[in-house]
């Protein structure tokens, strides 16, 4: 089972990015692809700042507002690439009080992984989904930060990284 990072979905839709074709092939070739609510939130955030795209889709499809256009695009993307949204459940008692499990795992992972918050949260969702019994073995991403900690991820989460070919700076 493959956890798909937002970066791959965005790469597949970005005509200016050299990884677009690779991203599309990866999304179309693999089976058993899943996403979290964090992926959906990141997609919504990116779309909210693509005003021209939202206006164009809203007008073409006769929708009421930008929010409906954004929801339509996200649902289309999930369906188009056969991405299954997995609901993460559960809270834990911690020293801080009650915490949503992905947040708790993100905090715990900071000890071993020196990653930025959003990267940590994606890994925390993978951990939470695995705790729910999902057999996730791969993280598909265009974000090189994950590749830099691949050894730790193998050890901590038993997940390998499939990275779209990095673009040389």
């Amino acid at each position: 089972m493959i956890y798909v990072d937002t970066s791959v979905i965005i790469a597949a839709l970005d005509p200016t990015d050299p990884r677009r074709e690779e991203a599309r092939k990866a999304l179309e070739l693999h089976d058993n692809k899943i996403v979290s609510e964090l992926v959906i939130a990141e997609l919504a955030s990116v779309l909210a700042r693509q005003h021209k795209v939202l206006i164009s889709i809203k007008d073409k499809l006769g929708l009421d507002d930008h929010m409906m256009a954004s929801m339509t695009i996200i649902l289309y993307i999930l369906k188009r690439f056969n991405l299954k949204y997995i609901v993460v459940r559960g809270f834990s008692r911690t020293l801080f009080g009650k915490l949503y499990n992905p947040m708790r795992y993100a905090i715990e992972l900071t000890e071993r992984l020196r990653l930025k918050t959003l990267d940590l949260l994606h890994l925390a969702y993978i951990k939470a989904m695995k705790e729910q019994g999902l057999l996730i073995n791969t993280l598909l991403t265009a974000d090189t930060d994950f590749k830099n900690v691949e050894k730790d991820l193998q050890e901590l989460l038993r997940v390998s990284i499939e990275l779209l070919t990095p673009v040389s700076q």
Binding site: S7, I10, L13, V46, V53, M71, T72, R80, L118
Partner: protein, 86 residues
């Protein structure tokens, strides 16, 4: 516009809410409250229907244009840049 009587089984919690709103004077009767609840729900359901139809239209557009009809120029650079900041 005609109307029909429909029998609906409600759980205790929902019925308690309806009765409380009637008691507070928000609605004149259980029927009035439930009609409003259904109207609010129907508005939301109509939006879901519109979005579902729009998703199908995007697939039709993809067939017509021969490509995914959503193009997010520069979005990946933006996303990865933001992740670096947080």
């Amino acid at each position: 516009m005609g109307s029909k009587v429909v029998s609906v089984r409600l759980d205790d919690e929902l019925l308690k809410l309806v009765d409380e709103l009637v008691r507070l004077g928000v609605y004149g009767s259980r029927s009035e409250a439930l009609r409003d609840f259904i109207r609010i729900g129907a508005r939301y359901a109509r939006q879901i229907q519109m979005v579902a139809e729009a998703v199908n239209k995007l697939f039709e557009l993809e067939k017509e244009e021969g490509d995914i009809p959503v193009k997010l120029g520069g979005a990946l650079r933006q996303l990865l840049g933001e992740r670096e900041r947080f």
